[in-house]
Amino acid sequence: MQIKSIQAGKRYGDLWALRNITLTLPLGSPLLLLGPSGGGKSTLLRLLAGLEIPDEGSIQVDGIPLPPNETTLREYRRRLGFVFQEGNLFPHLTAEENITLPLRHAHHQSAAEAKERAQSLLTRFQLLPHAHKKPAELSGGQKQRIALARALGHQPEILFLDEPTSALDPEMTAEVLDALSDVQREGRTLILATHATGFARRTGGTVAFLRNHQLEWLGPTAEFFAQPPTPGAAGYLARILRD
């Protein structure tokens, strides 16, 4: 699946959250969306994942622009996985039910198939003892790993992550990033908006640096960290590495 953003932009009211974004998702290698908060990272993720419709330009999948209709977009989203910053899990369902819900109702698996898949994912992320707990009984890191397991349930071609560790303390952040490294080793394409620069640097791939609602720089991750390519990027890195 080849995904391209062609001069895409998104407006909320009178405010452009994002303008004139042209990029092609690198398949099989991660794309890191970096940049200051409010710079348009989340919006770009949502556009690429078919959760929002661009107000200008288009998102193309295998050369065909995504149509602005919910049924087609839903079919497209079913091929992807998505993890948000927080509020991913349904509070009335157990960890296991959170994972089986999309398998059963969006991917038409039988109850037994979905359960088996959920159990294998829970085992993989060392969460099996928590299978029957509700989100309120789990730590932030456990919740994010369950969200990750849910996003992987149907073997998505591409996994989108919108600041998955920003609401977590350092220990839980490490927990989630370890799980993520594990997923990355499988060769699945990750599109990750993050402030976790250490992880970004280790992950490699490509950096898209977004600032002031524009794509300011696009290039190899190693290059971005070796020599900040723009004054904006230098300022951003200096600010985050200070903490």
């Binding site: 839903r74 948000f84 349904f90 969006a106 991917h107």
Partner: protein, 252 residues
């Protein structure tokens, strides 16, 4: 936050205190009235009273069964409808909630009902009450719907659920959990609201009590059992809803 559970003995003692305080207050009030109790005159009408109580129960159950789906439709119309539908539902709900039930009963029965040739009082009463309660239920459902965090709806879209699936697996269970206390309260209100149908001579239990009072002049002997007759219906409702609420709890 969960309050600490006191010792059972303490609970019983406290309940005894509260009951004797309330009981004592009413005992003194009744004492000062010097009422001459005449239960025998009223006792003769017990069958009629029981029949009226059964009518209330039937009327209330039918209204509940009809007004909940209608309330859902009105709420859906207000949230997601096409503009004229949204305006219609909003206007209807605000009109019903903004005017006295008594006026609605009289207008709908004597004017609209007559025009439509609807003469069966029990049926007409059930329909009028259904419309009234549906307006209130619709606001409870709308509130429950709006109380569901947008992040969960986005989450549901992201995992590829259809709107129907989201409604069934996410909105309904979460909304039910949030609105259960209000729904139980409204159901108790519904039972008591049905007493106003006595003005169009539906022979429900309040109408019967009014008749017994007229025949026997035993005002308190007619109306105190009436209060009890409603309490027998509403108290279990409160009790079972609380238990149901506990079984639906998902967070501390």
């Amino acid at each position: 936050m969960k309050p600490l559970r006191p010792h059972p003995l303490l609970t019983a003692l406290s309940l005894f205190l509260v009951l004797s305080l309330l009981g004592g207050f009413f005992a003194i009030a009744f004492q000062s009235l010097h009422w001459e109790w005449r239960w025998d005159a009223v006792w003769a009408y017990r069958e009629k009273f029981f029949y009226g109580w059964c009518t209330t129960l039937l009327l209330g159950s039918a209204t509940l069964l009809l007004s909940i789906p209608l309330g859902l439709v009105l709420a859906a119309g207000r949230i997601a409808g096409w503009l004229p539908i949204r305006q219609f539902c909003t206007l209807l709900v605000e009109l019903i909630r903004g005017t006295p039930l008594l006026v609605q009963i009289l207008v709908l029965f004597y004017i609209v009902g007559s025009a439509l040739g609807l003469q069966n009082r029990l049926l007409a009463g059930t329909l009028i009450l259904t419309l009234f309660e549906a307006a209130y239920f619709s606001e409870i459902f709308r509130g429950a719907w709006l109380s569901i965090p947008q992040s969960l709806i986005t989450s549901s879209r992201a995992i590829g659920l259809t709107p129907a699936c989201t409604f069934r697996h996410i909105i309904t269970p979460l909304g039910l959990r949030n609105s259960l206390p209000a729904l139980a309260g409204q159901t108790a209100s519904l039972l008591k609201d049905s007493s106003l149908l006595s003005v169009i001579a539906v022979t429900e239990v309040t109408h019967v009590a009014q008749e017994i009072n007229a025949f026997t002049y035993g005002t308190l002997e007619s109306y105190l059992p009436l209060a009890l007759a409603y309490l027998v219906l509403t108290a279990p409702l409160a009790f079972f809803t609380r238990r149901w609420e506990k079984s639906l709890a998902y967070a501390n």
